[in-house]
């Protein structure tokens, strides 16, 4: 386990006893990645704020929802943010055009943005590993994965948009997830 993950575990333990300082530290660590993700998925600052707000409030109110036996706190919390962002985009059909625009921003791979904020070094290391793992995917697999994850699209929508069979979308997604699993487990 990385030091950063170990520190997160301790912060989470304190959070379960209502420790606000632990909450503040987790906010300091994860507000940036969470807001960046929510912004990417929803394409709107106001909505991204709502997503991050709701995710942190849910964490405060029900920290026991995280089960340390099932993985690092980092992946639990960011997956929570992702679910909320995607659910919001789906609920708000009026956002569809905006979310498409957001999802079709310059491709993530090849992108080397100076992230808008400084972050904990261990998160920076993981971010680099994730980007490298994404870059190593065959383009057709990366495309369906990014449309699903960052575009908030269903596999049926992806099939329609790309004009490929639904089965192909499923196969490519599965292949991409297996490769990412291997790549990220090796480095995690």
């Amino acid at each position: 386990m990385r030091d950063g993950d170990r520190e997160d575990l301790e912060l989470h333990r304190r959070l379960t006893s209502g420790d606000r300082a632990a909450f503040d530290e987790l906010y300091h660590r994860y507000a940036g990645p969470a807001y960046g993700l929510a912004l990417r998925v929803t394409g709107q600052q106001i909505l991204a704020q709502d997503v991050v707000h709701d995710a942190f409030l849910a964490l405060w109110r029900a920290p026991e929802a995280y089960d340390a036996a099932r993985g690092p706190f980092r992946t639990f919390f960011l997956a929570l943010v992702h679910h909320r962002a995607v659910d919001l985009v789906r609920r708000e059909s009026r956002l569809r055009a905006r979310s498409e625009r957001a999802a079709n921003l310059e491709p993530l791979v090849g992108e080397d943005p100076a992230d808008a904020i400084a972050e904990e070094s261990y998160l920076g290391v993981r971010r680099k590993e994730v980007r490298e793992a994404l870059a190593a995917l065959p383009p057709e697999q990366r495309q369906v994965l990014e449309m699903a994850y960052f575009g908030g699209k269903t596999q049926v929508q992806i099939s329609d948009e790309l004009g490929i069979p639904l089965g192909t979308v499923k196969t490519r997604t599965f292949a991409a997830m297996r490769k990412l699993r291997t790549a990220l487990e090796d480095t995690g």
């Binding site: 707000h53 849910a58 992702h82 995607v86 971010r127 994730v130 980007r131 994404l134």
Partner: protein
Amino acid sequence: MTDHEAIQELLAGYVLRSLSGEDAAEADRILTDHVPGCDECRATLDAFQAVAGDLALGAPAAAPPDTLRARLRKELEPRAPSRWNAGRIVAIAASVVVVVGVGAVALTRGGGGLANGQLARADLQDVTKAAVMSDATHQPLGQATEISAPATEKLYIYGTGIPLPPTGNVYRLWAGSPDQPRYIGDFLPTDDGTLLLEVMLPASSVGALFVTVEPEGSAPGQPGDVVWDTAA
């Protein structure tokens, strides 16, 4: 492709939140029926969920506005010991396992909720999942608790220590008011007093709930005396 691979292909779509229609329903089914008992698929699910969490880092981090932190600070109420802490959930799970083991969860059949599909025994995991959602509301319904999760439109009724109604009678759940009742279904607690029910209607369409005690098998006409309600 093996059966396990077909299931894991579905799990890949599930963790990305990209399933819909029949695939989503099938994923719900295998998550309940298959995954809990299959080490390989459970490990795959956990690993895919970790990947889905890490994928967030594929998007550039961005600084949220300071107003967000201020807004959160205002809303961080001091937390009372959670009614849904892990110990309590385990305790409920244990009681439900015992009950399921003897098949004692009894919803009346004749003229009851199961017949019209509006009331069913809830899955414990679903109830706990709904209970910890940020927008979930918990309100007393007599001796039980009504748990409503607006985001998912789910509505559950949970309770322990619920007494059985007099012999030959059932509890009857209604929406609305005694003057304008809408029949939902009949139910009985388990022998150890556990209630774990799902109202099979969108939460936002239900409104206030109340419960009466009625003769088992009777037609749901005019409600009798109210024994529990959400307004109390």
